[in-house]
């Protein structure tokens, strides 16, 4: 029987890790992720994660390097980080995915410096978006737990690492009602770890990750691309299967009331939940507002997004990252997904909720209002709108 508990997002992730049973965990503490690895360390110390080893390292670069090494030996591994810690890992992020290692790493999203911030935006994970990892964004504490389990299953099926992103504080430190699955049910969904085709073994020495010439580099990267394509094909099935085991199905996107909508709010992370509530309240007042939540940002479900949005009148994409020099990454993806349609909805890009600023219901209502106003003029805004910027706040 699942247990219903009051858990914050960090502890929910830790429960997911306990149930998945990695054998090696290496991490370096950083706010707002620290309670995840503290809790996992407790589980290892008290025997709740039998046979697991915690490696205390001196940096995030070493944390990811340690789990890369352990994954290469052939075991399930876990790490977690946030913000500047993820940035310090950057070099190894590519090593992990290029070596096709099914690592699961939780990222409690935190704005990258500068200015320094402890608080959420997606600038940390978005900076890693093209590094060949699967990126899943949790809306709430339940999803933070579930996506650990779904993440390991998907990672091990396609031999790719999964970055599980949860909004710093709004999910990581917010407490909600979470159903913690039964270990037996988890075992039925997530089988015991099977080592991949390439493994380090002292009895059969080989070199992995050596210098690669132009003769084969492209082909190896192409295989990597195919693995992400495969992940996108597989995710809907695994998400359904997750639903049959635990009663909560998952999909790469969650689209509600999009067809014919005057405005569809597109977002990821915790604000997707707020958007759904705002849309519900506006629909009750007679406005046609839909929502599209992107759970899988990498691989990006281009076709599903196009299908969901093709019959909407206008679309407002909310990026909780800067997109400096261009526009937010989610907005770029949505626009690209719609480009091949002969008749496209109007799309306006919004930036909001940076560095921990509350992405409030009022902010999202203002997004709807602005998009409606633009739609009534038959247009969208060419440049991104920083909807919650305050005039005169910083001189």
């Amino acid at each position: 029987m699942p247990q219903i508990k009051a858990l914050d997002g960090n502890w929910a992730v830790a429960e997911g890790v306990r149930l998945a049973g990695p054998k090696v965990v290496a991490a370096y503490p950083i706010t707002p992720q620290t309670p995840i690895v503290e809790r996992v360390a407790d589980f290892i110390a008290d025997g709740s994660l039998p046979g697991a080893r915690y490696i205390a390292v001196e940096s995030e670069h070493s944390a990811l390097s340690a789990v890369v090494g352990a994954a290469l030996v052939g075991t399930r591994v876990f790490t977690a980080t946030a913000g500047a810690g993820l940035a310090l890992m950057h070099e190894v992020v590519g090593v992990a995915s290029g070596n096709r290692l099914p690592i699961v790493m939780a990222v409690a999203n935190r704005a990258l410096p500068s200015p320094w911030s402890l608080q959420v935006d997606h600038s940390d994970s978005m900076a890693e978006r093209d590094m060949g990892w699967i990126q899943l964004y949790a809306e709430n504490c339940q999803e933070a737990l579930d996506l650990v389990l779904l993440g390991y299953r998907l990672a091990e099926e396609v031999r790719l690492p999964v970055m599980l992103c949860l909004d710093g504080f709004y999910v990581s430190h917010s407490t909600e009602v979470v159903s913690v699955p039964d270990a037996k049910e988890v075992a039925a969904f997530l089988p015991a770890y099977e080592p991949g085709p390439v493994c380090l073994d002292p009895d059969c020495p080989l070199t992995i990750n050596q210098l690669t010439s132009a003769g084969t580099f492209t082909e190896i990267k192409y295989q990597h691309k195919q693995a992400l394509d495969q992940a996108l094909e597989l995710l809907p099935y695994l998400g359904e299967e997750f639903g049959t085991h635990f009663g909560r199905p998952y999909a790469p996107i969650q689209a509600e009331n999009c067809a014919g909508a005057d405005v569809v709010l597109v977002s990821l992370g915790s604000s997707a939940g707020t958007a759904r509530q705002v849309a519900k309240e506006l629909r009750e007042k007679g406005q046609q507002v839909g929502t599209l939540k992107v759970t899988s940002f990498r691989p990006f479900p281009k076709q599903a997004v196009q299908t969901a949005l093709k019959d909407a009148k206008s679309v407002a994409v909310i990026d909780r990252s800067w997109g400096l020099g261009s526009e937010g990454p989610l907005s770029l993806e949505v626009k690209a997904a719609l480009y091949t349609l002969p008749k496209r909805p109007l799309v306006t890009s919004y930036v909001a909720g940076l560095g921990g600023r509350d992405l409030s219901s009022d902010t999202l209502s203002k997004v709807v209002e602005t998009t409606m106003e633009l739609k009534s003029q038959g247009r969208s805004e060419f440049e991104p709108i920083w909807i919650d910027v305050k005039e005169g706040e910083v001189d």
Binding site: K5, Y170, V177, S270, R276, S361
Partner: protein, 184 residues
Amino acid sequence: MKEIKILSRGGQGAVTAAKILVAAAIKESKYGQAVPNFGQERKGAPVYTFARLDEEPISTHTYVYHPHAVVLFDLFLMELGIDPCAGLRENAILVANTPVDPVGLEIGSSFAKVGCVDAWGVTKEIIGPVPPNAAMLGAFACTTGWVGIDAVCTAIEEFMTGSKGEKNAACARAAYERTMVYAR
């Protein structure tokens, strides 16, 4: 859905109280959410904590701007310019940590219902010099009726094991019994 704003200082245990409130909601087959507003705070600095209670799952993930109830751990926060009456919903409820009779509480006039308890006093008497959060939960249960005192006490004992849990649960129950409630 009931939206709650908790005003306190770092070290008074409001974040833990909000978590316990979620656990208490589970005991009554309800949904709850606690959203802390962490900054670079230190002990004694003002802390805002937000909570929601509902019969349905809660999808909003934001701070609370229009509370149905305000829980005021420390009246002196008002001297720092913090306004417990900001953005109140109609018929809002105040739960305040003060030995003052709610009829005479000045800010009470902005609220439809006011519950007052000397949370420091009750806590000191039953446990000792520790944060008044368990007592404030008892006062919250008494004043709002949105969660039962039994659920609150069970949730406290889940969060704090052993004698610490028992003492805090006893403290919540004592505060529940001693809360003076005045409805306009």
